[in-house]
Amino acid sequence: MPTNTINGHTFEVDGEGFFTVRSQWSEDLAHELAPLIGVELDEEHLAPLRFMRADAGEDRNTPTLRRMQTVGGFEVRDLYRLSPGKPAKKMAWLAGLPKPVGCV
């Protein structure tokens, strides 16, 4: 398993680069990661990430966009605007969670 280091933060990832150890994430680290995908991490970006962390906990699946809508109360349109391209994967990565597996 590769280990990534950025500005003093160290975390383990899978072959693709998604986190494998959830406890190695912190909001400070998210602030370091965001510029790598061209995102400026403001409160609007952090709200869904915090929900994802809380919802996934220690061992549950990374929430899907649908779950973020029905359980988290986020607008799908906003999530696509905040993380254009691959919103579910980008947010999972920024939130230090495993690659999302849900279909919807």
Binding site: I6, G38, V39, Y80, R81, G85, K86, C103, V104
Partner: protein
């Protein structure tokens, strides 16, 4: 009709990862050679449209044709289309023939699933009666009994709901919010005497087959 995607927020400067840093490919990093990931790069100097190579070189695009109005035949394109959108793929969906029922507000809530003609119909619940029965195909004759379609439809809707799969109207809302381009078939629209007010608001227009063929240029086409 334009097919532009939702504009991205103000571009933020993107920094490069440190040496040896492993990060997922989100598909939006500039590719040096302009090659599509996974596709072999063509030999320079050859005809771009020649020998099994498509001339289209834009971002990945998928076009779905929904021609069936059964509940179980509505979901494949809705689910794959939604998955494609969340992978950053431009998505176009054309609803034609019985598939028009999927976007017709008068029918979209009541799409049905019938076990008739479906020999893969078996029930996981039957395992409780006798292990192994969950793999047994139900006799086709049973599907013709009065009320069976309604029972099968209820059962399927419940199974989808248990997995938090939205029902058809909600799914269309979801696709619309995610930026899918949806169209109704002109011929079917006229043939079934549908009115525009009955179409889901996510449907951008009633278009002809040739319009759709134009829109689908360069797309990977999935016919359901």
């Amino acid at each position: 009709m334009t097919t532009t995607l939702t504009p991205s927020p103000t571009p933020v400067t993107r920094t490069s990862p440190p040496e040896g840093f492993v990060m997922p490919d989100f598909g939006d990093r500039p590719v040096a050679s302009g090659a599509v990931s996974g596709a072999p790069t063509g030999t320079p100097g050859t005809d771009p449209a020649g020998a099994g190579q498509a001339a289209y070189a834009g971002p990945r695009k998928m076009a779905f044709i929904c021609s069936k109005g059964n509940l179980d035949m509505a979901y494949p394109a809705l689910i794959m289309g939604n998955a494609a959108l969340s992978e950053g793929v431009e998505v176009h969906i054309f609803f034609t023939f019985w598939g028009l029922d999927i976007v017709n507000k008068k029918t979209m809530k009541d799409l049905k699933f019938t076990m008739l003609g479906n020999t893969a119909m078996h029930m996981p619940e039957l395992a409780k009666l006798r292990p192994g029965w969950e793999h047994k195909s139900l006799p086709q004759g049973k599907g013709g009994l009065p009320g069976m379609t309604s029972v099968a439809t209820k059962m399927m809707k419940k199974q989808m709901d248990d997995l938090d799969i939205p029902d058809v109207p909600d799914f269309l809302d979801l696709l619309q919010a995610a930026g899918a381009h949806m169209y109704a078939c002109r011929l079917t629209f006229d043939m079934m005497k549908v009115i525009e007010a009955d179409l889901h608001p996510g449907v951008e227009g009633v278009i002809s087959a040739s319009d759709f063929i134009e829109i689908a240029e360069g797309a990977q086409i999935v016919f359901v």
